[in-house]
Symmetry: C2
Subunit: 431 residues, 2 copies
């Protein structure tokens, strides 16, 4: 194939063929197409766009450049929930056991955290002995045994996307809805699931800052998901403020555990029940969303879902007892309580700043090579909308490092105001 002709076609705004898109992704992954040709195509794509067929082709071409998980030995309706990344997001650890409990097969691949954003794999390492590096067979065996498994993303999936993602970053070609859609969706399509719920975070602590843009991207993701044969729904959820009260690793696992015991914060309960209810309807367990959601919330409050969580952790070698005896196992050398300096309502807690602060405490990585302090983190005694009195503890910082908290930082982290703000967690559901 003459790749310069492909460049000329996209430059003129013409549609590329499936063959041309495959050639680009696979040959660039192999290194046969040089960076300078790839970046020229990416720029042309940014300006001229990709239609839905081209985005689907690019997504599938990305998937084809790495390992795929066909899940051929898993019987039943296979589901997956993905978040686009946020602060305090322990949803998978609650959603998974709920769905598993109803008999859905939760087949999930997760990543590690970077910068202000946490990662499910890091959180799961709270359990001593837990392994998330499973062979394809072991992965399916755990699912068949406990209805749920979470493994870590290997370095050998969507190789073309990884290389193109890095190139986009240095060539001003990040903001293409087609390229973003293909990048996100290819990672989801690596697993051959039946149903897919994407939790698209919107707000200051998320990649998507703006609801309108997030909806546009979501509509593309839905189209591509459907074209690829998935039952797909997208929740647009609030990430201006952290999700739940815990930010860190063990502390978030504890919150997930408490939530499964029936003692979760409202926003987390609502988010997890919504995600699970969507999957339960997709999988035919319930006929409609409202009934599903009601049933889930009732059982969640009863603590009915904690058992599958324990079974899943133990099936992957984890010692579940550490979280049952949290206070004994996850103490930190240092602890600081931040108090309110006036009466009022919490108007706003900045998810991004909180994530960065948790990282400084040792709960997150500045670079991929950093090691984590599993016990470090932040507990929000008050959430957005809560009434506070001067002197109330707002949040507690935990770290094994010396905590260097300057009061000026408070202005960035939160505001207290006289009127109670409106704050909702689910902004929209698209499907």
């Amino acid at each position: 194939m003459n790749f310069v002709q492909v460049l000329n076609k996209k430059k003129q705004g013409l549609e590329l063929t499936t063959e041309e898109i495959n050639y680009f992704a696979t040959e660039y992954a192999k290194g046969t197409i040089p960076d300078y040709q790839a970046s020229a195509l990416l720029m042309a794509i940014c300006i001229k766009g990709l239609n839905e067929r081209e985005i689907l082709d690019l997504t599938q071409a990305y998937v084809s450049t790495g390992d795929k998980y066909m899940l051929e030995n898993v019987k039943g309706y296979k589901v997956d929930k993905h978040s686009t990344g946020g602060v305090g997001d322990k949803t998978s650890l609650v959603y998974g056991p709920i769905c598993a409990s109803y008999g859905l097969k939760v087949c999930k691949m997760s990543g590690r955290g970077l910068a202000q954003t946490g990662g499910t794999i890091d959180k799961l390492e709270t359990f001593p002995g837990m392994t998330t590096e499973l062979s394809d067979k072991a992965f399916q065996d755990v699912i068949n045994k406990t209805n749920m498994s979470i493994i870590q993303q290997t370095s050998n999936i969507v190789l073309a996307d990884k290389k193109i993602y890095a190139l986009r970053d240095v060539t001003g070609t990040v903001d293409s809805i087609g390229l973003i859609t293909a990048s996100i969706m290819s990672k989801k399509l690596v697993l051959n699931n039946d149903g897919l719920v994407i939790d698209c975070k919107v707000g200051k602590g998320a990649f998507m800052k703006d609801l309108k843009e997030a909806k546009e991207l979501s509509n593309y993701m839905i189209k591509i998901g459907k074209m690829a044969g998935r039952d797909i729904a997208i929740m647009l959820t609030n990430m201006n403020t952290p999700l739940g009260k815990a930010i860190g690793n063990a502390i978030e696992v504890k919150e997930a555990y408490d939530t499964l015991l029936g003692n979760g914060p409202d926003d987390l309960n609502e988010l997890c029940a919504t995600a699970a209810a969507i999957s339960l309807v997709q999988g035919g367990i319930f006929k409609d969303f409202k009934t599903a959601e009601k049933d889930v919330l009732t059982k969640l409050k009863n603590g009915d879902f904690v058992k599958p969580f324990k079974e899943f952790v133990e099936a992957q070698g984890g010692d579940f007892s550490v979280i049952e005896n949290y206070d004994k196992n996850f103490t930190t050398k240092n602890k600081i309580e931040i108090k309110a300096d006036k009466d009022g309502f919490i108007e706003y807690i900045d998810a991004n700043e909180m994530g960065l602060l948790a990282m400084e405490l040792g709960a997150g990585r500045k670079t991929k090579e950093d090691t984590l302090d599993l016990a470090a983190g932040i507990y929000l005694e008050k959430q957005t909308g809560d009434a506070v009195k001067k002197g109330d503890v707002l949040f507690t910082l935990y770290s094994n490092k010396v905590i260097d908290y300057k009061s000026e930082i408070s202005d960035k982290l939160f505001t207290i105001n006289k009127t109670k703000p409106n704050s909702k967690i689910i902004l929209d559901i698209l499907q």
Copy 2:
């Protein structure tokens, strides 16, 4: 400077600043900007375009990345004529002596030929001892002595353009009017001349195949030339068919010499007189074009301009006598006459095919490394529009190689038809 921001600006169709354009050209020439960023910008430029200010900045930035010739010791009005490249184009060797004869200073830098297109420097090497590698000082000394000098393009001019030109070729970013204009004009602006005539060849033997496109490009070149302080005019001339009757090196020098003696073919006389008359009006020697052209044509027919040609060649060390005794000095081992197979008019001689044939005979280079046979070439006994009878010699091939001429090739080279075609050399003059 954050170059990714520059990429993002052009991607959005925004105007780049002078500083941003300078940064791109100079840093890419140095190698600080990688190919993959440069190609992304070139693609954005191809799609979003450059305005006139940006083209001027890019042109001047190209010039700044290599040697410049300020001609500070040359007194008088300095002129230059450039051709965009054609077949049989010996115009400079006639134009130069005409202008020099009227007291203009002809300061010219030329290149070598490649593929079907000849180069003035190759042609000048017909004269034994002729050097076209002159220092800046020697160049100006020759001009001050004989009113004319032609030197060869050094490898150290417009370095950014050279590197970008190569990158455009492999990234589908050739067809940008802004990039083409900057590339052509930068090479012209390396010499600090006052007046500039560009002979933009149009037709099958030229880079520009189409008159409309050639006019569009010319209008940009004129604007950039004027913005850079030049008196500039562009002649659009016919390159469907070769210029004059001779194609080769020594054989073209001979035709130029004959033309200066008053015995040139009509098309070459007209083209050279037009170019010279434009320069003479630019330089204030004549008030209007018609008077200038008439004066030039009269003197050309009288052979008044041959003396400055000889003086220029001898000032650069060339032995002019070889061309005065052409038949003794430039014989070839082999010679073939191609004859008409029917009566009629020469409807068309294909400039491109003739150039390629001359190359095969040894008059041109397939690759930069090939050596030339100065005596090889083609003489057109008949030109486009001439009446011929069956058996008339149409053209003669000269070569020191065995000439492998197959009669089938004739169909590509020329056609004979019953009616006399219209053919004119000057298609338009823009200024």
